[in-house]
Symmetry: C3
Subunit: 421 residues, 3 copies
């Protein structure tokens, strides 16, 4: 149960809101590189944290992210001419560079200095492995770009995708802090309908113990299922500030090769982009690992969606899968979270033991919001190059021998590195 005021505080991210200010302290995924594939290609509209923006790639390949409406009289720059290192408004030809400088105001007298007095709102971007990140906060507070493991790999070892969801971002983040739902939402009854790991391990024990450990980056979340013979099924996943889940994928066998990141970027308070990033440390992504394409249609909209009830098949639900909505975990998550409504009223919920990490994540966020309001720097803002290292964000799926402690195993894994493990 979250009081209405705290629910309001956590779920509102528009300009000027406390949670919006917190989100704007971090680099956030803004769009995929493929949306603006080449220099001087057509711009695209981007809606982020309730702001209307336009992204374009200039002649040199640099990405600009500008307020959508022209500083002159407000015409959308989306229709603009992307030419010669700048975006030019169709109405009177005002031209902007990626930094928001006004390069030209051709309808003004030739000696006009107007353009030197105007600065158009523009946001710094960073392009990594096919994702364009942006920083929407105050310019003097811009942090370093965090060197997550996947950001250091060649592009072909990283698979990136995104999908539109029709609910508040927090409903998505909560799903990342919720190990128990693996045993239900994603459960398959038959071999054929099984994907995404080792279902028997989830089935054995549907009530895992969940232990959230506060870290400098957010939460390390340790879940343990009873294997029945003294062994335990250990999963380690992470909530990474302010809106990311770092989760093991590939099951017992595959999970040492890499892991997945799910990031929930508010479009506005009732819509969210879910970015999905998977990587393999030592090899290229295989074609069969690109699992989202067939679920995602034009505009990165889900083919199975809230309007068509996710094409739920009640016969399949009876015989093959718990949910009856295919086998793609992303779609399952969307059904569970979108069907809560646009912004779930958490004053009506009933939390249990299985929600321990969800509770911890909300507290972590609330504390960060309140600290920021008090002028204290939020966690996981990278400013020291020496500390721009995140190898301690580990993701694990592992059968723990009898009597091995999860903490011990995690420490060993970190010290030896995933390859050795």
């Amino acid at each position: 149960m979250l009081p209405k005021e705290e629910n309001q505080l956590l779920t509102r991210t528009g300009p000027g809101t406390p949670m919006g200010q917190l989100m704007r302290c971090y680099w956030l995924p803004a769009l995929l590189s493929e949306e603006i594939p080449s220099p001087d290609c057509p711009p695209v509209q981007v809606r982020l944290l309730g702001q209307e923006l336009v992204a374009f790639r200039n002649t040199e390949g640099r990405v600009g992210l500008l307020d959508e409406r022209c500083s002159h009289r407000g015409t959308s720059l989306f229709y603009g001419r992307n030419e010669e290192c700048g975006l030019r408004c169709i109405y009177h030809g005002w031209k902007y560079d990626v930094d928001g400088n006004v390069l030209d105001t051709p309808a003004e007298p030739y000696n006009s200095t107007l353009k030197d007095k105007v600065h158009h709102p523009a946001y710094p971007t960073r392009e990594v492995a096919g994702v364009v990140f942006a920083y929407l906060g105050p310019k003097d507070k811009i942090p370093l770009f965090p060197k997550y493991e996947w950001t250091l790999l060649p592009k072909d070892q990283v698979y990136v995708s995104k999908v539109f969801q029709e609910c508040n971002y927090l409903q998505g983040v909560e799903g990342e802090c919720d190990s128990a739902h693996l045993s239900y939402l994603h459960r398959a009854f038959t071999k054929a309908s099984t994907t995404g790991g080792d279902p028997n391990l989830y089935r054995q024990d549907g009530a895992p113990s969940v232990q959230p450990v506060p870290m400098d980056f957010g939460l390390r979340m340790i879940s343990l299922r009873d294997g029945g013979d003294g062994t335990g099924y250990l999963r380690v996943s992470n909530f990474v500030m302010p809106n990311q889940g770092f989760v093991p994928t590939g099951g017992i066998k595959g999970n040492k090769e890499g892991y997945s990141i799910h990031t929930y970027v508010p479009v506005d308070d009732t819509h969210v982009w879910r970015y999905m990033i998977s990587f393999r440390r030592n090899r290229a992504i295989r074609e069969d690992e690109r699992i989202y394409q067939k679920e995602i249609g034009p505009g990165y909209r889900k083919i199975r969606n809230l309007q068509n009830h996710f094409l739920q098949d009640r016969e399949q639900q009876r015989k093959e899968t718990f949910i009856g909505i295919g086998t793609n975990f992303m779609v399952h998550d969307a059904c569970a979270t979108e069907s809560m409504g646009p912004i779930f009223d958490r004053s009506r919920e009933t939390l249990g033991k299985s929600d321990t990490a969800v509770i911890a994540m909300r507290r972590y966020l609330l504390k960060a919001v309140k600290n920021l309001q008090d002028g204290k720097e939020p966690p996981h803002i990278v400013t020291d190059p020496q500390k721009n290292d995140f190898r301690h964000i580990v993701c694990l799926a592992h059968i723990l021998e009898a009597k091995t402690s999860p903490e011990g195993y995690i420490e060993e894994y970190i010290s030896q590195g995933p390859q050795a493990a």
Copy 2:
């Protein structure tokens, strides 16, 4: 003319509103049995008085009506697994019975008592002749289910249907208290376009006298048209609390065989379900009496609707019918009431003699609302089994001999019963 405050009072029915509280004192149609035809079939979403609910039929055939969102973390139970006498949420497997008891919280530790502390909002239901009724009020005030004549008949003697309308419920109820409109809205100019009674009787006198008589159940409404030769065309219909019209159908010949009930159940304040129930006392409904099927499409939406201007045919309007929108009275009513707008502002109306019963009905409702606010029990709440008898709600269409008084004839009809009459 209704002052804005009274209009507001009568038209708002959401949780916590005075009129909403009044409505919640009664059994209301919630869905048709055919929407959940068999044990363990897929659940359906139900929106009632602004509340989002889910209905399901359990393994034993009992109907449950639950708040749509899971008590745990709010996922929609519409996607739930309907199995073994309970509805199970897809997210973490919480399972509910038709009474809102939590049967299982499998993601909680095996010795958890959480489920015993939670009670999910559930509403009592009663299934009669193909209609599922629900009671949404306080549990300690639940009334008896009223033994209307049609509820005592075999199912094949009752024809039930429903249709979605895009306006406030009160606009529908007013149409039931409005005998005069028969002579206009439903008028046919040719034999071929005539249905629903004896049009010549409406045409003869388009300005009936209307007399509303306050009764324990609502209003008995007596309308009399001058037959021209000393005779009179008598119609008796009824406003039955809180949202029903009981009206004669079948014309002079047919009306003694049974009558029709039109009930307006708010979906929310700008949408309403119109339930239509007709019955024949001594025989099965004939196929040609099932007159709504061809007018109603998927989702119980009208094929002729506000968006397509009810497919009005101006040529037909010129030559065949007053309205030019086919011959189905239900569609005519919808056009007249939906085209008033989502919630009609009654401070702009001009009432006449022909609106006498409309005025009386609003006063009856306003008094009931105010009494309820003062802690007095509203009318037509059945609590005494001895008084659960409604044979005095009579519907009549009759040619009155010269000099016969309507009141006298009605009394005689009640004492002798429709068969004799």
Copy 3:
């Protein structure tokens, strides 16, 4: 930059708003004659300044414009029977004439005087050259219908059209006060993609001097482009109260034959009808001059619109036209103004020299609104038949010889008349 309060003041036009009151002082285009082509034809719904109305042509050919909802109980008169010089409501047969008199209330007793006590809101109309104008203000203040040049011509010399736009009316009016945008928004790069005038003249000098001259009717706007050889490209257009642009069309050659009027009538505050009227003084409109037909689909909606991004073609934008959205100026204008959003927040704009006339127009309007609030009559309300003459509203596109003053040329043009010039 317009402060939020003044932006609010200028853009809100519903009943009771100051700008709405100002608009209601003038005759405004309400619909095209072709929408109600013949006596007793079907009525049409008309939404104007946030009011819901119905227009019909009676048996004698007169046009009525009534509040849409019946004075009785609010049913839409759009479904009404248009017969025998009146519009009759389908619900209870109340009948109205074009002046709002109630001719019949047939459901009332035969001796009822109710109809004499009711007056239905009706608005005076005037039909000119295929446009139906209406006056929505107080009856005792009704002005003369202004004798603009085009209103005095035979119908075949006038081309009228209208189109729906998805933004506030003021964004449209501003485009009429903005000579500079011709050089950008409407620019063509190739001969084939050139329409609407003499593009070279716009291209030569993209930063015209703009001089707004306050007049009794609004503003005369004089723009001058440097021809490079001592000559100047002079354009004279006009803002005519309260929502009209009178602009030269046809280029240097054609502009003396007539001009165009663009009138922006609010549907509500986020939608507007743009009426387009062109005329030729001495000849019929040619078929090839009817340039809007192929851009306008059912319901007068644009085929290229905000939803489909005006079917912008980025290849065309690169090679043929500045905007990449065909060659029709009306569509270009729509893209520039609709893409500002439903109601542009002018506190975010940056105005330059090129916006001189836009600024002057807003000031003119603001002053008129404030004067009206102070009880002073707004400009361009015609009450004196002697002064119902607007030959001084001239539209010009002309190459000015070296050293000729624009003012001198305009005076000469007015005194000699367009024919001589």
